[in-house]
């Protein structure tokens, strides 16, 4: 925690809810910090990913001068989410429709906002929902505007979507700063490797792989569409696809892992096993194959 502020030149404060306060209540809890000056603040849901065009967002917010800006994004299946209906020229938001049965709009709330501190007048420190108890009133008062997000966006709350979001993010890196991606005979497509990670001989890493700090990938490993978190080890000849390998976990030799398998922290998969779509809670030692998707507690 102390490293980031120094590296980034900013102050980080943690505001911890003792009881669940919904999506609006926590802003009330942090009122003192947010109201320190009259400057607007960003609110970012931590389970989304996009290119975060902060400058453009702020410009739009200043240009309309109202209380709030909501980032909206186009999706293929708007009925899964809350749909935003807004004036395309002015950007002013008219209303929200939750999970509409017939097509209303294909723009949804991307979970990224800018608010002026005045919005806190609408929020109390209790369980409150921005989407249900704050936004509709702001829209009625003409105080809510939409920012049309360009580029990729993904809700990464589910493991499958997390992996898709990772792939989209890596494509974004390929376009904006390709020098960050790994190059070499072992790598295919977009692969991000932490400098402290070690990769063995005869591997095939990628496409769409992120390898975290101090990870060890042994010889002959085939890894694709996966995230490997800090300190994990993938042993020789393993074949891993569409999986999330948790911190400090070990994937044994010749293991085959696929179909959005997720390993929690410190999970050990013994050699030669087959793990297909398993969600494994932390600290488990797996000694038998799991060929059908299941949760292992």
């Amino acid at each position: 925690m102390y490293l980031f502020p120094r590296q980034l030149g900013i102050t980080i404060t943690l505001s911890h809810e003792q009881e669940p306060l919904g999506t609006a209540g926590p802003l009330g809890l942090a009122r003192e910090i947010l109201e320190k000056d009259a400057e607007p603040f960003f609110v970012l849901n931590s389970d989304v990913i996009c290119s975060y065009p902060f400058k453009k967002m702020l410009e739009l917010h200043h240009s309309h001068g109202k209380e709030g800006t909501i980032v909206v994004t186009k999706v293929e299946e708007p009925s899964k989410y809350g749909v935003v209906v807004y004036n395309p020229t002015s950007g002013q938001i008219d209303r929200f429709v939750e999970k509409p049965k017939i097509f209303v709009s294909n723009k949804i709330n991307a979970g990224i906002y800018i608010f002026s501190p005045t919005v806190l007048k609408r929020i109390q420190v209790k369980f409150m929902s921005l989407e249900k108890e704050v936004f509709p009133f702001m829209a009625q008062d003409g105080q809510l505007f939409a920012f049309d997000l360009e580029g990729f966006w993904m809700d990464i709350g589910q493991p499958k979507d997390f992996l898709r979001g990772m792939a989209l993010y890596l494509s974004h890196v390929r376009q904006t700063s390709p020098e960050r991606l790994a190059e070499g005979d072992s790598f295919v497509g977009n692969v991000l490797v932490d400098p402290s990670a070690k990769i063995g001989q005869g591997c095939r890493i990628g496409p769409s792989v992120v390898i975290g700090p101090n990870v060890i990938i042994e010889d002959g490993v085939c890894l694709s569409s996966s995230t490997v978190l800090r300190g994990a080890r993938i042993c020789s000849h393993a074949w891993v696809q569409s999986s999330i390998i948790g911190w400090q976990s070990v994937v044994g030799k010749w293991v085959r892992m696929e179909s959005v398998s997720v390993l929690g922290e410190d999970v050990i998969i013994q050699d030669e096993l087959y793990v297909n779509g398993a969600r494994i809670l932390p600290h488990k030692n797996i000694t038998v194959s799991s060929p059908d998707p299941q949760i292992i507690m």
Binding site: G220, W239, E272, Y274, P291
Partner: protein
């Protein structure tokens, strides 16, 4: 290995004479220095019809007695002990049936033998009874003296006189009902005896999956009697666990890991970092780098791509029951799904890289371009 008085081996079956069969017979003749012939039945003749049909061949040279073994039996054949028992206990002209012990439940699936403990005569014989009769089962091995042909002739004639039996089935004689059952008790002056195998494994091979189990048992026999046949760990060479037999012409990368319980046939190529365990790999198969083969049979000329996984489920016995036998489960369970068992790749199957073939039977010459589980690929 062989009792010095065995003069000849006859293989009797309904399989068509083929190049493979001829080659096998030639190889075995050369290896063991004993005349071996394959006699093809003109129609399926049951468990004794072939013996009756080829009686002239069997009796040529006036043998004192002859062994009969069912070819789907795998065990540590107590050939020498059976021959001695035949001489000493039956006076050299009785009939001996080889018996082995099974648990009460499983015995019901076999021929059951009731033994008179002091004389070792067979008091009663019944094939696949519904209720418990005995836990000594017919192990599929016999010694007969030439007198046996009286009984076979009688059975053959009875078939022909029985108007109810179809033409095609007339020549087929069933050993159990024609010979063993009537001879049990005091039939023919009590000439049927049972020789119980002392110890050691016994299994039938009714399907390819049983072959993996039998493979394990034979490899353990090798370990005991001929450890020089088995592969060993050499520094800088491929790693070996447990009993593994590798044909001298196979090429194994030094980073591959084999065993336990693996047979690797002639001309097989196993690539870098491959893992093979509890498997039979037949001639000329190619297993490419980083692959994993578990509980499977890989047929002749198969090609397994890099990082492929060929996996079956072992049919393991209850470890607490020393006489438990491998059963023949039906292919499908009550849900209509394939029962988990050994994965089998037929001749010439190719599996593309990075695929998994799990609990699947693949017929010959298929090319697999995607993964398969719990299926039969026709």
């Amino acid at each position: 290995m062989w009792h010095p008085d065995v003069r000849e081996i006859l293989l009797i079956g309904f399989y068509n004479q083929s190049q493979q069969m001829s080659r096998f017979v030639d190889d075995m003749q050369r290896k063991y220095g004993i005349p071996i012939r394959y006699l093809q039945e003109y129609a399926p003749l049951g468990t004794a019809g072939g013996i009756y049909h080829f009686r002239d061949q069997i009796l040529r040279g006036n043998p004192r007695a002859f062994f009969v073994f069912n070819s789907d039996v795998c065990c540590d054949f107590p050939v020498w002990e059976m021959a001695q028992f035949h001489s000493n206990v039956t006076g050299g002209n009785g009939y001996v049936i080889l018996g082995t012990e099974a648990n009460e439940q499983q015995a019901l699936s076999y021929g059951c033998i009731v033994e008179e403990p002091s004389t070792h005569k067979v008091l009663h014989y019944v094939e696949k009874p519904e209720t418990f009769v005995s836990n000594i089962i017919n192990a599929g091995g016999y010694i007969f003296s030439p007198d046996i042909f009286q009984h076979l002739t009688r059975a053959f004639t009875a078939n022909y006189e029985n108007e109810l039996i179809h033409d095609a089935a007339r020549d087929s004689i069933d050993l159990h009902s024609s010979v063993l059952t009537p001879l049990a008790g005091n039939g023919d002056g009590g000439k049927l005896y049972v020789y119980k195998m002392n110890s050691g494994f016994w299994t039938q091979v009714k399907n390819a999956g049983h072959a993996i189990y039998a493979n394990r048992l034979y490899l353990s026999l090798f370990k005991e009697r001929h450890p020089e046949y088995l592969a060993t760990n050499t520094p800088g060479g491929h790693e070996i666990y447990g009993a593994v037999r590798i044909h001298p012409s196979a090429q194994i990368d030094s980073s591959a890991v084999l065993g336990p319980n693996v047979y690797v046939g002639a001309g097989v190529v196993i690539g870098a970092g491959a893992r093979v365990r509890e498997a039979i790999v037949l001639d000329r198969a190619v297993i490419q780098e980083h692959s994993c083969v578990l509980h499977s049979i890989v047929g002749w000329d198969c090609v397994l791509g890099a990082w492929s996984r060929i996996e079956g489920y072992p049919s393991d016995l209850n470890p607490n029951d020393p006489v438990a036998k491998i059963t023949s489960e039906s292919l499908f369970n009550l849900d209509g799904r394939l029962n988990p068992s050994i994965t089998i790749l037929g001749q010439g199957v190719s599996v593309h890289s990075e695929l998994i073939v799990l609990n699947t039977v693949v017929l010959p010459h298929k090319e697999l371009t995607s993964s398969y589980k719990n299926q039969i690929i026709l």
